[in-house]
Symmetry: C2
């Protein structure tokens, strides 16, 4: 059997297309050659800290070119970058750093990270990006080749229950993800991807890999701003962008009556089932929305709705990447078409497992199949429909109630800006749905009006027992709705099931 | 380490994009779904012949949809297809069939194969395509997954010296070739590749793989015709085509003052160093020529000149695919820039070795590096220039003389249609170049005129000692010049060195 090796990606890219632009950020453009030269130098500075092959190194930074350079420098050394979510509490960050056995915490000191582990005295080995840059250079043998089986990065999953776990992604996982995505979405010389999702999430990190593997320029945004995103598409030649539903909605609001240029070819929409009204608005605007389903454990994109089915299978997440497979398991058997069950996926992009959790190997990654914990079904043409997180599922009088389905109806009601649904205890049915609604500024509506509207569109057991009007809904750094945090906003006469 | 497995390519493709056109041939269009249904049925018929996993099966056929189906049916069974060059003599074909230990020879009986092994009574297990189709169906467990390390096909290399050897190409070799090529050439929804090279050569066979891996329609031609090829590009939406220099020249002659539509995006030019005048003509016509260098052992394309360097590095074969590497070895050390030596290549697309020739494992595939037997150099920017086959190299008074360089000058002379150069014995210099020239119909010229022209462009030791006017030059099935066969045409006062 052949040893699965590839040349160091950034080094190879700098050799193949040195003068192509690699990153655009804040109006600056950096070529692959320049990026490699900087990374080469940075790797020597990291080596002077004693960082060696197979070390884990925690990275705490928002999106920046520096973060890009640190990822590549660690890959060149053969160390594993462990990016931390900057929005976590100090305790959560410290927990992840300790759990990961990171030898260092490297943090951004240019942009304020409030309440972060950067200032936590318990962590002896912490150093700022500026300090690293002032280090002297140590000799280090850089990896001219990457072994596809070696760990490349580790990202902690936010997880809806329990402590977060470090998802190990190998070089091979990232490679197959990027190659599979190129076969799925195509690849052209004029492609330019707008990265306004965090690099510490797999959605952003996968763009850092595509950047070098494709030789494709990435425009790196510090944070998401709907107007800026639209400007990038309309005036700066951006052809592809990754978003979640909430971001797309805000972009559409900002876009108004304008539309995107023809060169814009891919709005990759992930982060959970998209509400139907949003897809319909996008359709009216002729926006090439590729709905996609992916996880940290699949190194991002796993299932995507191909262009020819964009309209006929509206609401579906599509079919797997060329090298991937999906199945639906219900009570230990493969489900029939249309029958909901747990989504399981398999493929070369799927993580070999969680760091330091050998007990999950069987439970979560059984026989190569990753048990995603998400509920969905395949239609008769084998298209995947993602219903919801298994953990968020509401079982009401024996019926499965999917919060996302109810939220989709609520979002179709005029002036509803955000909607979230959770299950609350009920004597008669065990559990019943309860809704949270955030209205557009200065718009009000009665609970009864919304419930009347819902009654026309939902089955009786899907109808919320109550609606709470509230502020913006809680979301994680990739703007996914955090339903479990809605529990705190429940009126006191209700109590959550979980 | 993860088991490198992928879903069966055609099955997966038929599941992902069932109604997309797979092949167009003779005006017929067949979808991926139809192709898979036919292949599924055919696999059962092959099983009834006793063909099982790991069997070798020789295939003797020109380009046809049947040949495509047989390749896929064998892959589905896990048997290894061994395509034979239809132009070989009976003895050569029989030799390859016996060397490969093929359990069956399956031959095309619709199109006449003159003097072929199809009628050879020594071969007990031979059966025509029509006969196979009349077989009953046997139950057979088809491979739902392909192991990337398993052998997929075996192609005998024409080889300039010695007996041909069977090059084993694994599923992984074909996958990495296709994925690497997509990253190199891009991939768009409107791509359509014209296959007018033989499927029994790696140039054609690689298109059969790209077809399913990309989900890209292939227009399959029985044989190359320059006018038909031009029609396909100009009127039938073909966007990509693989050719060798001689084919491109004939297409340009046919094209006359016309030009190709903008949608035509890739003229992939392989099969040896291209003569400069041809590249210049292509440039005038604004044809997007991608010069490429590849071998059977590399599953086709290994090195390609990327678009941004098309003009500034005219004559170079470019840089390796993203996952590949090249080096130049001169006298057991890595050569300096500009210094010629043996081209060696490495990458996941490189064959694990020759069938039944374990002794070549070290000599030819040393430490993962394939010794190609070709001579070339890298310039200071790491671009590869292929000079010639090592076996065709002429050493004249200690100087290296590359036939391709002299041929390129001869081809620049008006009305010279083909040119070939070999070395002949010389008392003073050891070896000197001798030229064969084929003029355009009804054009004549004197030897002296050509030599005067050459004198202005070549060094003294590169100047041919004689020129023989002759008919069309000998070429193999992929239209590569066969210099060793020119020896037979030498005037009797000369004798070849090798």
């Amino acid at each position: 059997m052949q040893n699965a090796m590839m040349p160091n990606w950034l080094m190879q890219r700098a050799n193949l297309t040195p003068e192509r632009p690699a990153f655009e950020t804040d109006g600056d453009i950096i070529s692959f050659r320049m990026l490699w030269e900087q990374v080469y130098e940075l790797a020597g500075k990291l080596a002077s800290l004693g960082i060696r092959k197979n070390d884990h190194v925690a990275l705490l930074s928002g999106n920046s070119l520096d973060l890009v350079r640190f990822f590549h420098a660690l890959m060149a050394i053969g160390a594993v970058g462990v990016p931390l979510n900057t929005r976590l509490s100090i305790e959560e960050q410290v927990w992840e750093i300790e759990d990961s056995k990171a030898s260092w915490l490297i943090f951004d000191d240019k942009n304020h990270l409030f309440n972060s582990a950067a200032n936590e005295p318990r962590l002896f080995h912490r150093i700022s990006i500026s300090q690293v840059k002032r280090q002297s250079h140590s000799e280090v043998k850089l990896q001219a080749e990457f072994s596809l089986d070696a760990p490349c990065t580790m990202i902690y999953t936010s997880g809806t229950t329990g402590k977060p776990k470090g998802v190990v992604l190998t070089f091979g996982n990232h490679w197959w993800s990027a190659a599979g995505s190129a076969l799925n979405l195509g690849l052209t010389e004029t492609d330019k991807w707008y990265c306004c999702v965090p690099l510490f999430h797999v959605s952003g990190l996968s763009l850092l890999m595509k950047n070098v593997i494709y030789g494709m320029p990435v425009v790196l945004a510090k944070k998401f701003d709907p107007h800026e995103a639209n400007q990038m598409i309309c005036k700066n030649g951006v052809t592809m962008i990754s978003v979640v539903a909430n971001m797309l909605r805000r972009m559409l609001d900002d876009l108004g009556t304008a539309s995107y240029p023809d060169a814009f070819r891919c709005m990759l929409l992930g982060g959970g089932p998209a509400p139907l009204p949003l897809l319909q608005r996008s359709r009216q605007k002729k926006i090439p929305v590729y709905q996609t389903y992916g996880l940290t454990e699949t190194a991002s994109q796993m299932v995507t709705l191909p262009p020819e089915f964009m309209f006929s299978k509206l609401g579906s997440a599509g079919k797997p990447l060329f090298h991937g497979e999906i199945r639906i398991i219900k009570e230990d058997r493969v489900a029939d078409p249309g029958e909901a069950g747990e989504i399981q996926v398999r493929g070369m992009n799927v993580s070999p497992g969680y760091w330091n959790h050998p007990e999950t190997a069987d439970r979560t990654f059984s026989g190569g199949w990753l048990r995603t914990g998400d509920i969905g079904y395949l239609d008769t043409d084998d298209f995947l429909y993602v219903l919801d997180r298994r953990d968020d599922l509401i079982i009401s009088g024996g019926e499965n109630v999917y919060p996302a389905e109810i939220e989709s109806v609520l979002l179709a009601f005029p002036d509803v800006e955000e909607a979230g649904v959770i299950g609350v205890k009920d004597e008669q049915w065990g559990e019943v749905p309860f809704a949270f609604v955030h209205m557009k500024p200065e718009r009000t509506v009665s609970e009864k009006d919304i419930l009347d509207f819902c009654q026309k569109k939902l089955a009786r057991y899907q109808l919320p027992v109550g609606i709470q009007f509230t502020g913006l809904l809680p979301r994680n750094a990739s703007r996914k709705l955090l339903r479990r945090k809605l529990v705190d906003r429940l009126p006191k006469e209700f109590s959550a099931q979980k």
